[in-house]
């Protein structure tokens, strides 16, 4: 692993601590065992081939840092993000996250088609840890941020929203959460140009509040705008850890 001169040393009171992290997946999608096969042929007939999506990853992130994760497709970026979000568990090593996480990963993951938008906001906000009072307080600001179309369609079944509206509502909701760590899997800004500007503004204000940002992106402008530190993930291992500019130069140098 290349340790570049600008790398911040690990401080006590780290917000994210990753140590020797490894996550292994089965190659074949048909990993599912079949009881029938197990009983009749006394074996698990699905392929046992595995690969390590992440191997021996170690780094720390201090409070208020803005970290950008780069790497080519399939390098393990999403997997690492999910491990920090707690949605995947390590096979090796450990991930310690002190404080809650606001995951901008699957923006519409907490929503259900058959409920109305209003009910979905109440439910999803609750699932992400907001108390009833907090949801009621913030309800209007969430809906207003998402736009007037959403406001009009509040009592419609959610599945009647366009995917754009759904995603804007998801973004609005998750960026309202109080969690100190914000994880972003590529979806830093969504929607049309006007909405994207709103998203960037919101990101900036979140960072100004002292939140910690962990951004996975292929977009160099986004990375340069928001992140001060970079991690370069290559084939599941941490190839470099340094300042965002240096990492981007390295990444660009490698991919040409």
């Amino acid at each position: 692993m290349v340790r570049l001169p600008e790398e911040p040393s690990a401080r006590a009171g780290n917000v994210i601590d990753v140590h020797g992290l490894g996550i292994e997946f089965y190659r074949s999608r048909r990993r599912k065992l079949s009881l029938r096969e197990m009983v009749l042929r006394r074996e698990n007939t699905s392929s046992k081939e595995t690969f390590w999506a992440l191997k021996d990853i170690s780094f720390s992130v201090g409070p208020g840092e803005a970290v950008g994760l780069v790497g080519s497709n399939g390098g393990g970026k999403s997997t690492l993000l999910k491990a920090i979000a707690g949605v995947l568990l390590p096979d090796e090593g450990r991930v310690t996250v002190s404080g809650g996480v606001a995951p901008l990963i699957e923006l519409t993951g907490g929503f259900l088609g058959e409920l109305t938008a209003r009910e979905n906001v109440m439910l999803a906000a609750g699932l992400h840890g907001l108390s009833k009072e907090a949801i009621e307080e913030r309800f209007d600001s969430i809906v207003d941020f998402a736009g007037p179309q959403v406001r009009q369609g509040l009592d419609m079944p959610f599945r009647h929203f366009s995917s754009g509206m759904q995603v804007r509502l998801g973004f609005a909701l998750i960026t309202t959460l109080d969690e100190p760590i914000v994880l972003v899997d590529e979806v830093l800004a969504v929607g049309d140009k006007h909405f994207r500007e709103k998203c960037y503004e919101r990101m900036e204000s979140l960072l100004a509040e002292g939140r910690t940002l962990f951004l996975v992106s292929h977009s160099e402008p986004d990375l340069r705008r928001f992140c001060t530190r970079g991690l370069y993930l290559q084939g599941g291992t941490l190839a470099a850890d340094g300042s965002m500019d240096e990492i981007l130069d390295l990444y660009n140098g490698t991919t040409g």
């Binding site: 079949s34 009881l35 707690g86 609750g126 699932l127």
Partner: protein
């Protein structure tokens, strides 16, 4: 392990929201929502009554009055059946929510058990109504052992949570689990003293039936309505098995969680 459950307790507000939502969906959607909860066991009780008391002329298959006996058995069975079927699918059917939130995953199983438990409680007025009818007719008297009813409830909750915690991850990891569960449940209905009472079965079968944790639970439910003395053996095995299944379920769920998250 304790932390996991402390985590669930800390998120009980979410559990509350989810259960309320389930109940709203169940009861508010259709006008007959509440009725459906009670029609099924009532209809089944009527059918079994006709078959066994009228056609086979064996109303002594259970305690008297037989219809009341059937009802007390069928209502908890409905909780059992619905809970097992839905908690087995708890992680699969909510896969999106499971993989995009960091909620303690046992929560999805516990939510099913509680939601179906509330439906069970809401179906009890029917039982009360028939009990009153039979008391007025002079065919039944209640006794002090009615306080064992809530004990049965708690024990059934423990049992259902344990089984749910075992089945939910198994269903994610092995497709066939659901099919096996469905078949086992159908057989289990007849292997449980619902339409017959324990002492009607031949001795050797009785001993086997003791190992069905539902036998003991049903004894607890019935105790307050019928004068027949309590069978202690099934009670003891029921407590042991239910608690054992809860412990096993808790451990197994935690162990399988990692693989489940990758599969979901």
């Amino acid at each position: 392990m304790i932390e996991r459950y402390r985590g669930i307790w800390a998120r009980r507000a979410v559990l509350d929201t989810l259960v309320r939502r389930d109940l709203r969906v169940r009861y508010a959607r259709s006008a007959l929502g509440y009725l459906w909860t009670i029609i099924d066991p009532l209809a089944m009780a009527l059918i079994y009554f006709v078959v066994f008391a009228v056609i086979f002329q064996r109303p002594d298959a259970g305690h008297k009055p037989y219809f009341l006996f059937l009802l007390i058995g069928l209502l908890p069975w409905q909780w059992f059946n619905a809970s097992i079927n839905e908690s087995a699918r708890a992680l699969v059917s909510e896969a999106r929510l499971v993989r995009s939130t960091n909620l303690p995953r046992e929560l999805w199983v516990i939510r099913v058990v509680i939601a179906k438990g509330v439906e069970f409680l809401l179906s009890l007025p029917v039982l009360v109504a028939f009990a009153v009818v039979y008391i007025v007719l002079g065919d039944t008297t209640l006794n002090w052992r009615l306080i064992l009813f809530p004990v049965g409830l708690v024990l059934q909750f423990v049992l259902l949570t344990g089984i749910g915690l075992l089945l939910a991850p198994a269903t994610v990891l092995a497709d066939d689990t659901i099919r096996v569960v469905r078949i086992v449940l159908r057989m289990l209905f007849y292997g449980t003293p619902i339409i017959y009472s324990l002492n009607v079965a031949p001795e050797w079968l009785q001993r086997l039936l003791w190992f069905n944790p539902l036998s003991g639970i049903l004894e607890l439910y019935r105790a307050g309505f019928f004068p027949t003395p309590l069978e202690l053996a099934p009670l003891v095995t029921s407590v042991l098995i239910s608690v054992g299944l809860l412990a096993w379920g808790a451990v197994a769920f935690a162990r399988m969680e990692r693989a489940v998250l990758k599969e979901i």
